[in-house]
Symmetry: C2
Subunit: 523 residues, 2 copies
């Protein structure tokens, strides 16, 4: 019986689209050739002793080898740990120990990261195009290509024994506070959950509508929910997939042009960098993960980029995508503004916004609440962390820790991670929204709003501003008062203090480094 | 935990689209009001003793009450038997006895059908808008609306105990030979399987592409795989649903106009009748179930009807839809010809064509074979018929009994039920294809090709022709020889005999009644 098992996603397309291309750095092959390597890899790994239930970590950017591992490890029932290479070294090792990585696959790009920890893990496999690459001695590593050479091109019998209720993958949240938390997904939830996102994108006439004739390029790394599901969807559909490896924005633009890419996913920072090249446009993108500012959205549209917004995360998979409300003309500016901020839960997904007592907040376009989610693809909880799981779940709802609001038309706006929001007098101030509004001021190049302690209100907002030209605190205050009168923000959201700086620190993922800012300004 | 349970499909849309309309004969209400009635119905039925695992038969056309029963019975864990009202009376009763219908819901439309069998089943519920309708005495029937009045508008606790592995529905094949065979589907397979059809329709730019802004009207009756999934999809998506009840084609056309219907499903016969009204057009349709002749397709296009073809059935759910090959321009005549005949399996579905020894036939655009199918939503087999199940399944494949061919570009053409095909010298002759080719001759109004016994070849084809104007056997033979030279048919397909008749008998479903013709001409 066929079922929602990762390697079974290929069964149909191997018949219907055997010649479909997969393009990766220094690699271009057909789905059929890809599958041949997957089979030989699985057989080779089996010889080395990889068995069902073991965990194998992978430390790589988006390459064809990382893609192959998704399917070969699936066939053996080995759990793939997609290692988050943006974690601090200590947290990275913590995640590998916590996940119990019995094998670690590392590409030459990350050998320097791996070298200091080579002794901590027993079995290493190095992935490289360089034949005589010498890996660190402590690794005593196998060579990926050599393993493939040892394997027969034959479906391993283990592949038939993998069930949709078996665990497929584990990955770790990038919690800004505390240790990363592991989340394991079974084949059923990871396939149905990630594919549902694309089904919904196909059903809605949004900016990132997908179809079988698109050419797909994920700029979201595989470690983040398998590139938001892109490790599965194009191969399941039979569409062309382009992997960018560690390409710079300049090189990404060349790839898009050369391969005819029409659809990409990325965080807003990546969109910003691509637009900066001056050569990016006329594609569809899915974005999310941090606030999508109106200025950036406008520049994207001017470049011919159409977009949809996604809300989701490692611990919930896809939850909502932006849509144009039924009563708004699809071609209007307003439609594009809704696609930037207004989201509808995917089919089968329920979202509820709750106050501190767990009561639903009104859907009035003003009341903020914590985003609670129910869906058929929620994980069972945090790996080995029953206390964190208990904190995060209530009556079948996953409490995301994000702050959101429902517009009166029922669309969802997600403002902030709860840790980043400001609680002033018991009321939430969504800093992401405030930053987005401030960014509309032409004199603001970049802005971060953080909570600072306040005797009277508990917390009050502080705005850290990187100016563009001359601007004063009074100017910005007056600007925000205008926005209050336009009904865009509440008056009590206006920051008590504005600090002007030359640079605002960013995280390695290109997001505002609020943790650092809080340490700097709240002491 | 949310899961793929029928009544849970509403959880999201009740929040996102509570005001979405459902339109049915003499009824127009919102999704929210629909749900209120579903809850009260479930509570009312619970009071009457309906319990998990029981089976309830429903004898009705597509009405709002039939739709309500889908969800209310789901909440109680009662299996819905969607009774095929086109079965002969004896077979209809057989199916109800075989399914063990403990309760029977019958609309006033079918009271005359139910009356003679009233004594055979204990518990009847009559569904009608007529308040003082007197039902047959032997029924001692409950009144549907009265049951709703007794129920509280509250989710019954049973609803939370229904699992996706529980059986949701049972329905019967309309086997032309032997007794109807029952097929039971679990919540998981019926929801995922029917929804996948629509996901795939959304992903492909075919003629029946679906989106969240379409208005849906099923003309396929609920008893046929829940109107090919339309009992679920619009309510899961949040789109407007229009139910036509027992409307005539004239009335259907008015409904389409009045309600702004943009998407319908129907068999080719229904399309023919709608086009005959002269007022049907500018909609998208999904069709299938019998050969879709080129003349009909051409008339549809001229009326602004765009179409996709589906292949599937009661015992396999959706298997394939027609698509335009990648190398064909979407706007060309050729594209529309492919949408009429060339199908691609849905994602996750494998199709294999086999000869009598179970070997795969070449994908050469000529070789015919039996269609074997693998998919994640196949049923467990035929209800209470282990011997039939054993015959129909092999190594995880379902042997459909249909005859098909793969074009060299990998698209699937399904020609015939195996029972209807002609086996000549061990080779298949697909009668559906032959009929389609003959129909292209302007002198042929309607044609049926049936197998007759032949000493030398086993079977040979006989063509029963309803002519339009003057035409002779020699004319048709010459016409077919032309088609042979064009490579459209093989020479040995040309019928040995042509019989001219005034009328060709049709079944109640509007298909050629080949069973009757075989009895008439093969003795």
């Amino acid at each position: 019986m066929k079922s929602y098992v990762v390697h079974q996603l290929l069964d149909r397309t191997l018949v219907t689209h055997p010649g479909q291309e997969i393009v990766a750095p220094a690699k271009r092959y057909t789905l059929e050739a890809f599958y041949g390597r997957v089979l030989r890899l699985a057989q080779g790994l089996k010889k080395l002793g990889l068995r069902k239930g073991m965990v194998a970590g992978v430390l790589d950017v988006n390459t064809h080898r990382f893609l192959e591992l998704h399917y070969a490890l699936s066939m053996l029932g080995v759990v793939i740990h997609t290692i988050n290479f943006r974690l601090a070294p200590e947290q990275l090792v913590y995640s590998m120990v916590d996940a119990e990585d019995a094998w670690v696959f590392v590409s030459d790009t990350f050998l320097k990261v791996a070298e200091p920890i080579a002794g901590k893990f027993e079995n290493w496999v190095v992935m490289s195009d360089i034949e005589d690459l010498s890996s660190p001695e402590a690794m005593n590593a196998y060579n990926y290509e050599a393993i493939i050479e040892t394997g027969r091109e034959d479906v391993p019998p283990e592949a038939g024994n993998v069930r949709e209720a078996d665990v497929f993958s584990i990955f770790y949240t990038t919690g800004t506070t505390g240790k990363p938390k592991g989340i394991r997904y079974r084949h059923k939830e990871i396939t149905i959950g990630t594919l549902q996102l694309f089904h919904h994108l196909a059903l809605h006439e949004g900016g990132a509508r997908v179809s079988s004739s698109d050419v797909y390029m994920p700029l979201i790394p595989f470690f983040h929910i398998h590139a938001w599901g892109m490790a599965f969807f194009p191969l399941y559909l039979g569409a062309k997939l382009v992997l960018a490896g560690a390409a710079t924005p300049e090189r990404q633009v060349q790839l898009i042009e050369r391969e005819g890419v029409t659809w990409l996913n990325m965080v807003p920072t990546q969109l910003h960098m691509l637009l900066e090249t001056g050569k990016f446009g006329n594609v569809k993108i899915l974005t999310g993960g941090s606030p999508f500012l109106s200025g950036l959205a406008k520049r994207a549209r001017e470049a011919g980029v159409t977009y949809s917004l996604i809300y989701g995360g490692s611990d919930q998979l896809g939850t909502a995508i932006s849509v144009v409300p039924e009563d708004v003309s699809r071609e209007s500016d307003e439609a594009w503004e809704w696609l930037r901020v207004g989201m509808r839960p995917l089919p089968m997904v329920r979202v509820s916004l709750r106050d501190r007592d767990g009561n639903e907040v009104p859907r009035d376009g003003q009341s903020l609440g914590e985003v609670w989610v129910q869906s058929p693809w929620l994980p069972e909880g945090y790996y080995k962390r029953p206390e964190k799981t208990k904190e995060a779940y209530k009556d079948g709802w996953f409490k995301t820790g994000d702050i959101g609001m429902f517009y009166p038309n029922g669309l969802l706006y997600v403002a902030d991670r709860e840790g980043d929001a400001v609680k002033s007098g018991g009321e939430w101030i969504p800093t992401g929204t405030l930053e987005a509004v401030l960014s509309d001021n032409p004199a603001v190049a970049l802005v971060a709003v953080i909570p600072v302690k306040d005797e009277r209100w508990g917390q009050r907002p502080l705005a850290v501003v990187k100016p563009r030209g001359e601007v004063t605190e009074d100017d910005l205050r007056a600007f925000l008062l205008e926005k209050v009168s336009e009904g865009k923000i509440a008056k009590f959201w206006i920051p008590d203090r504005f600090v002007f700086v030359e640079e605002i620190p960013l995280t390695s993922a290109g997001k505002l480094n609020k943790k650092l800012l809080r340490e700097q300004y709240t002491k």
